[in-house]
Amino acid sequence: MNRRTLFTSVAAATLAATAAFAQTDGEPVKAGFIYVGPIGDGGWTYEHNKARLAVEEEFGDAVETVYQESVPEGADAERAITQMALSGADIIFTTSFGYMDPTIAVAEKFPDVKFEHATGYKRADNVSTYSARFYEGRAIQGHIAGSMTETNKIGYIASFPIPEVIRGINSAYLHAKKVNPDVEFSVVWAYTWFDPAKEADAARALIENGNDVILQHTDSTAPQAAAQEAGNVITFGQASDMAEYAPMPRVSSIIDDWAPYYIDRVKAVMDGTWESTDTWDGIGPGMVGIGEITDAVPAEVKEEALALKESIASGDYHPFTGPINRQDGSVWLAEGETASDGDLLGMDFYVEGLTGEIPN
């Protein structure tokens, strides 16, 4: 063996050793995130990204995260998710309902990659679903809205006619009705998750039609700005606290806290204990937070709202407790009966008292 071959073989051995070392514990777990809006939307995507940063904070160098913003729902999502899987992601969070079929399709092609789809209902061996019980927060919003409206007209900016959105409308309506039997809901379908100009237009249309409370199920803070401009209209933060619009128009909010779940799931991938699961948590476990109720809300209403929050968190009260009829008058839940998760996940009808039709 001459000197040159000696050097080469030593180098090769070192390389091999490094590679082996890297494979055992040096390689970081790569977590990917697909977002429906920009991370600066101040709402839905902002909170998912905050949770991503929490994952980085928790695991430091042991994790590497990548994300892609403003991925359209539908065919293009499949391309984006595939791209992420090809780039070596170990776990991919797809964070909007419309990514459901693309996620399932990509997951079939990458059996070794773990997928986590938010707010959907299709699972596979390597696809978990997770969502939060936003309707619990909607019940509290409905209570405050029903108590505070003076015109008895509440406007609701809805995004797409999917069960999650319909559930929110029903829950808010039931609880507004409970405190104010005269209350009416106007629902506007914006057919977008994120389009500040359109969301502002929708809020203005509702305000011009006499609604003095605006609930939103879209992701930007534009409706808050429109309500502020109009004055004397109250709103609620959606997905994120939107505290910059407190104390008026934003009087409270629903905050999505995904961080504990994301940390948990990435940890499971690291430990090799990841399994396909279905998670649906609410106020109790902390996945749904209720933002500070401001002083614009009368003290007794605030107290009632907090009591409602407590009883939902402890499990004493379910926001969908009978008697509840469907819009057509047929019985859905009998006296004292609570809705099953299956019913809630597939909800495609309005409850009695709501006017208008759900587009399909």
């Binding site: 809006g37 920009p38 991370i39 600066g40 939307d41 101040g42 913003e69 403003s70 406007g155 106007s186 629902v187 506007v188 379908w189 914006a190 057919y191 977008t192 994120f194 389009d195 500040p196 100009a197 359109k198 502002a200 237009d201 929708a202 203005r204 249309a205 509702l206 011009e208 039609n209 006499g210 609604n211 930007s220 803070t221 534009a222 700005a225 429109a226 502020q228 401009e229 939107m242 910059e244 619009y245 006017t355 208008g356 039709e357 587009p359």
Partner: protein
């Protein structure tokens, strides 16, 4: 259904406000295309205008300065497109798309500190006499200055292209750059000026979004308005008057369907939302069937004096 709760006065007023950003962007893009350049970067220039206008208005407290800065910033940005495509003869489609990506990224970067902030907004004009008219006053004559400026701009562009010598030269460059060059006109310089003007208009449109229509800064807030402006230019078959109709139609349908829904009317929402696009496709089919499309003959074609 009760349509009584829709106030026609407020409805027309909101339509005018919601059409203004796309009208500004579209009229600028029309001039660019009339000179024979296809700039697909409208979305990027609009969002740059939105963020720069917002930032300047917040820092100076003057929305007018915000609009001026927005126009300047987008115009300067559009010049990068101009230099690349006119001097270095890069592909216009690819460069325009690049401009959109740059604009979206740059605006997100500049806008970070401005999220959730409030800006001073334009005051509504108080026009004596006209503003006091019973119905029309509130409907048409109590808007902010930019609404009227956008309408004046449409009229000015129309008159410029139709009646002035400079307008004729601009059209000549767009129809046949070789002939215009042979006559001694500076094709590249004229096109750069058109691109600059188009950028400034898109910037104004963007600033109108962030300062008046929404009013706030949110990342990605144009949400496709630039693409709609591009579609309107085609829809209008490159005529100023029809750009106005197109912009008000797009703005109008959006606001109208939201109002109908708010009033509880049973409207086919999906159909109404897509109707402007359907109409654009229909117009495209019609003009191509007729064979006269009105597109400048040299649209999108590169020009070099040596060829």
């Amino acid at each position: 259904m009760d349509l009584g709760s829709i106030n026609p006065i407020l409805l027309v007023a909101s339509i005018m406000v919601s059409a203004t950003p796309i009208l500004l962007a579209a009229i600028g893009e029309m001039v660019v295309e009339k000179s024979g350049v296809l700039n697909l970067g409208v979305e990027g220039m609009m969002i740059t205008g939105a963020v720069v206008g917002f930032a300047v208005a917040v820092n100076t407290g003057s929305p007018v300065l915000g609009f001026a800065a927005a126009a300047l910033a987008s115009a300067v940005l559009s010049l990068s497109f101009g230099v690349l495509t006119q001097v270095f003869l890069s592909n216009q489609v690819a460069t325009g798309l690049g401009l959109t990506l740059v604009g979206l990224g740059l605006s997100a970067l500049i806008g970070k500190p401005y999220e959730g902030m409030k800006s001073p907004t334009l005051p509504k004009l108080d026009i004596p006499l006209l503003g006091d008219l019973p119905v029309l006053g509130r409907m048409l004559f109590s808007h902010d200055i930019m609404v009227y400026l956008s309408l004046a701009l449409v009229a000015a562009v129309w008159a410029f292209l139709k009646f002035t010598r400079a307008g004729l030269i601009l059209r000549a460059v767009g129809e046949s750059h070789d002939a215009a060059h042979a006559l001694g006109y500076k094709v590249v310089r004229i096109r750069l000026m058109a691109i600059f003007f188009g950028g400034a208009c898109a910037g104004l449109g963007g600033a109108y979004l962030s300062l008046v229509r929404v009013p706030q800064w949110t990342e990605g807030m144009t949400a496709g308005a630039g693409w709609i402006a591009l579609a309107i230019v085609v829809f209008a078959s490159w005529r100023a008057g029809r750009v106005l109709i197109g912009a008000y139609l797009f703005g109008g349908v959006t606001v109208l369907q939201l109002n109908l829904q708010a009033a509880g009317a049973r409207v086919p929402v999906e159909l109404l939302s897509t109707s402007p696009y359907l109409i654009t496709i229909l117009v495209l089919v019609l003009i191509s069937a007729r064979g006269i499309h009105g597109a400048p003959a040299c649209l999108g074609r590169p020009f070099h004096a040596s060829s």
